[in-house]
């Protein structure tokens, strides 16, 4: 073995992993499901959504998707403090989420709404930031519908485009609340250099990038799939 191994415990269970393994990956080996929105096993972790935070006994909570395991580390993934933190983050993300998530409405796999259910969040205490400044939709692509209001800036589409497909079309633009994803130098998607591979749509966890062809259907698995 070329890498040194480190020993740690996650939720009281011991595990040994190669040095450099993230806490999130180590937890998966123990079948511990740490919620996350920005990370996917197909991608380089970036730690932007902070939903995967865990308590390692440090001064603040750590994003497990980017934090490497350390020898002797004691990780808690679901303490009340951690859960409170996640609920707050979810409420913030949901505060300006559109009424109709095109992903939930079509393929039923909106990951943000799934987490809202998992955390029992039925209403949001925060003001809707989009009430007087909606972020808009872009239906210029023949295949992909863009709803900026449903975008949580998780960066999955950016990495899907730049790092999986290397088409380098998607980026971010704007500052503060006006930050959103953009195509090329902020062209409409259908007029950009987008090659319509659909990777962004496939990796998007929310209703921000969805399949136009499913615009009026709701898919439901047959035979409990």
């Amino acid at each position: 073995m070329s890498k040194d191994m480190v020993k740690l415990s996650i939720d009281g269970r011991d595990i040994e992993v190669p040095e450099g393994t993230t806490i999130w990956d180590a937890a998966r080996e123990l079948d511990i499901d740490i919620p996350v929105l920005c990370h996917s096993t197909r991608m380089r972790p970036v730690g932007v959504c902070r939903l995967c935070v865990v308590d390692v006994g440090a001064r603040n909570l750590q994003a497990s998707c980017v934090r490497p395991c350390e020898d002797g580390m004691k990780v808690e993934t679901d303490t009340p403090k951690v859960e409170r933190h996640r609920r707050m983050l979810l409420e913030m993300l949901l505060s300006d989420y559109p009424e109709d998530s095109a992903r939930e409405a079509s393929t039923g796999d909106d990951e943000l709404l799934e987490l809202a259910v998992r955390y029992g969040i039925e209403s949001v205490r925060l003001p809707d930031g989009a009430a007087d400044r909606p972020r808009g939709v872009d239906l210029s692509s023949p295949v992909i519908a863009v709803d900026h209001q449903a975008c949580i800036l998780c960066d999955r589409c950016v990495r899907g485009c730049d790092e999986l497909q290397h088409n380098d079309v998607i980026t971010r633009t704007g500052k503060g609340y006006d930050t959103r994803i953009a195509f090329d130098l902020d062209a409409p998607m259908g007029e950009s250099t987008c090659v319509a591979c659909g990777e962004c749509m496939a990796v998007c966890p929310t209703g921000a990038l969805t399949n136009q062809a499913l615009g009026n259907v709701k898919l439901k698995p047959l035979n409990g799939e």
Partner: protein, 737 residues
């Protein structure tokens, strides 16, 4: 307080779906995917990438959005027989009649109203009996060689195997071929000669282990898009790309060196690189001594190609040539990919010979990060070739003129077989024109659009006494048919497909057949049986077993052990192994590799003052070959609706051609009208026309001149002229669609 949406939208129809693990039907990359299909099996809802060995969940625009052709209303649903009143045979639509013929309605897909009245619906029994009787009649009167068949590289291994068996055993001829002839036939000829095997030595994703990769005459971001993503991954991680192409491909943006050579000078460039490698002693002496033969002859020839003279001949900077050579040698691990820009020339075999020699003298075969990879075009062109859909060989490249092999297959198939190698695609068209080939079975190919020199193909198809076409749609070729049989699309069939990496994977049926359409493999068997040669199988997997049983490479495989993800061949122990991603570590099938030197030859066709530009043809990202599938996909058609010719800004200015304006492109064989796209990616003196658009068919222009070994036409080189069309200076006007 804001309520969290629960996202039940009343306006939407709820559709139950099931997921079917299958493959992409388009290119040779062989991406694994899942079709989500509704309960009726009549509608694919969407496509999701699956974690296959070739794609790791990634897809391109065709794989993800190009599935709806199978659901197109123009799908053929019943067998059709040409009406008595529609003889003598003529092309039926304006587009197929050619210049000045008929009410012209250019653009888009076939107008069924123009074609269908010439045919009547028939029962399967009537249609199949007619086919069998007419083909058997020609065979009995004029001999087996009066018949020929074109199979398809889009079909499964099982279909390819059955098709060549039908032609050999029931037609009694070896006149069976498919579009490999238009694709990599010259690469395969060079590989069989050089190492004794036509398949790739290393899989695409092995590029992650390479220090250098040369991409010659290929345009992977358009033609092998998902493979291109792994090539770009490698470039990001430090692999140096050397890109050689007459027309700048997008992958050149990721290259260390881009060599935009003059068309047809490939051999000189590669010889020049070998000259540098030998002169600077960047070669692998031990590998040359132990694994190759013919080095001294090769050395003598490449000595003539010093970098300065060669670079001038090729139109590149001599320093770039030298740098490119250095990146391939000196113990660096280098991989060579190539495509149609290498193979589709009258010197296609020579081009490949040079690439093989480049790999061999630098010791770049048989270990990780090295090797020879001709990027296969069709999803199953590797498998169709392996299955013997080639006129000179039985399955597994066993020569038809070897008496021992003939005896083996006579025993295996229980009939007598012809010892005479058959004719190739382009030769069959010539023989039809001369009346030697009288009857043809064309399954899933569209030679009217795909073969060179359309005007000649038109005459050849008209000259046939009997033509049966089996396809999904009324293709341009079907206009010449006596009988048209409705076959099965990829999404409706079970079968195995072998990708560019030699990975054998199972495609599974997601949809039910439309109308009375039938499984292609069953139709082939029906024709054989009705011609007096029994072809009966219990299942598709039984066909696979018979095919695998007469090969070395497939003999360990079965539908059962291929499972959800398939295996690379060779695979000695499928129970424990995924197969071999890298082959020939110790020896080549022919023993030592043969280094075959080549000298630059003059092209068959010359540019002159009448035809001053060189035409290159190829594909675009969104379309597939003759467009019969992709132009019936709503998304793909919307993204890429029109034919176009790319022309360099300098040439455009000189010819008064404006971007978007209509122009005429003419060669010595014919002319087409289409929109000009003024772009610097094509070099001055060259133009590019994609092959997909029937209304501006690139092959009206191309030359049927062939490579002497591979018999592949020179799709990448013919002389043309371009002139602007008066009264059509704004591209928006004519040629919609």
């Amino acid at each position: 307080m804001k309520q969290v949406p629960n996202a039940m939208v009343e306006q939407r129809t709820t559709v139950g779906f099931k997921g079917v693990d299958s493959l992409c039907p388009y290119c040779g990359v062989g991406c694994a995917l899942t079709f989500r299909v509704d309960a009726s099996g009549e509608r694919i809802l969407d496509v999701q990438g699956r974690d296959g060995a070739a794609n790791a969940g990634r897809l391109c625009v065709k794989g993800r959005y190009g599935y709806d052709y199978a659901m197109h209303p123009q799908r053929l649903r019943k067998p059709l027989i040409r009406r008595e009143s529609s003889y003598p045979k003529q092309p039926l639509s304006g587009d197929v009649k050619g210049n000045g013929g008929g009410p012209r309605k250019p653009g888009g897909i076939v107008d069924y109203d123009e074609i269908l009245p010439h045919f009547r619906e028939a029962s399967w029994d009537e249609a199949l009996d007619l086919v069998a009787n007419r083909l058997a009649g020609l065979r009995d009167r004029h001999g087996g060689d009066s018949l020929a068949g074109f199979g398809s590289a889009k079909g499964s291994n099982e279909e390819a195997y059955l098709f060549q068996k039908l032609v050999r055993a029931a037609f009694r001829t070896n006149n069976v071929d498919h579009c490999t002839r238009l694709c990599h036939a010259s690469s395969v000829a060079a590989l069989l000669e050089g190492i004794g095997s036509g398949a790739v030595t290393n899989v695409v994703r092995d590029i992650e282990n390479a220090d250098t990769a040369m991409l010659a005459g290929c345009n992977p971001t358009d033609n092998h898009p998902v493979a291109a993503t792994f090539i770009k991954d490698a470039a990001v991680n430090g692999t140096k790309l050397v890109v050689v192409n007459t027309r700048r491909p997008r992958i050149a943006d990721h290259a260390e060196i881009y060599l935009q050579i003059h068309p047809g000078t490939d051999v000189a460039l590669f010889n020049g690189m070998m000259h540098v490698l030998i002169r600077e002693n960047l070669i692998d002496r031990e590998f040359i001594d132990t694994r190759t033969e013919g080095f001294s002859e090769l050395r003598k020839v490449v000595e003539e190609y010093d970098p300065d003279t060669t670079a001038a001949l090729c139109g590149v900077d001599p320093d770039d040539l030298v740098r490119a050579a250095r990146l391939l040698g000196g113990g660096r691990r280098a991989m060579i990919f190539w495509g149609m820009g290498i193979s589709q020339h009258t010197h296609g075999t020579d081009n490949s010979r040079c690439l093989i020699s480049l790999a061999m003298i630098t010791g770049n075969v048989g270990k990780p990060g090295t090797g020879l990879h001709p990027l296969r075009g069709q999803n199953n062109v590797q498998g169709a070739s392996d299955a013997g859909l080639i006129p000179m060989v039985y399955p597994d490249y066993q020569a038809v003129d070897d008496p021992g092999v003939q005896a083996y297959f006579e025993d295996y198939w229980g009939t007598s077989l012809s010892p005479k190698p058959g004719l190739t695609v382009t030769e069959i068209m010539g023989a039809a024109l001369e009346g030697q080939v009288r009857g043809m079975y064309v399954q899933g190919e569209n030679p009217f659009v795909s073969d060179p020199d359309t005007n000649k193909v038109r005459k050849a198809l008209m000259a046939l006494e009997f033509l049966v076409v089996q396809d999904l749609f009324l293709t341009e070729t079907a206009e010449f048919a006596d009988v048209i049989l409705p076959g099965s699309s990829f999404m409706e069939k079970l079968g195995t497909y072998t990708n560019t990496d030699r990975r054998v994977q199972i495609g599974r049926p997601a949809m039910s057949l439309p109308g009375e359409a039938r499984q292609d493999w069953e139709i082939i068997c029906e024709i054989g049986t009705r011609m007096g040669y029994e072809m009966r199988y219990e299942s598709v997997s039984a066909v696979f077993d018979e095919f695998a049983g007469c090969t070395e490479n497939y003999k360990t495989l079965s539908h059962e052990n291929l499972g959800r993800y398939g295996k690379w061949y060779p695979c000695l122990d499928p129970a424990t192994s995924d197969g071999e991603p890298i082959v020939f570590g110790d020896t080549f099938p022919r023993g030592k590799a043969l280094l075959v030197p080549a000298r630059l030859r003059q092209p068959e066709e010359h540019v002159d003052s009448d035809y001053p530009l060189i035409l290159n043809t190829g594909r675009v990202l969104e379309h597939w070959h003759t467009g019969s599938m992709t132009r019936r996909s709503a998304a793909l058609d919307r993204i890429s609706p029109d034919a176009f010719v790319e022309i360099n800004p300098e040439d455009a200015a000189r010819l008064h051609v404006v971007d978007g304006a209509m122009v005429e492109v003419a060669s010595r064989r014919g002319s087409i009208r289409l929109k000009a796209k003024v772009v610097p990616r094509v070099a001055e003196g060259t133009v590019f026309v994609p092959m997909h658009f029937r209304e501006a068919c690139a092959n009206v222009l191309t030359s049927p001149a062939l490579d002497p070994q591979g018999k592949i036409p020179t799709f990448k080189y013919c002389a043309v002229r371009v002139r602007p069309l008066e009264g059509a200076s704004h591209g928006k006007e004519a040629m919609g669609g």
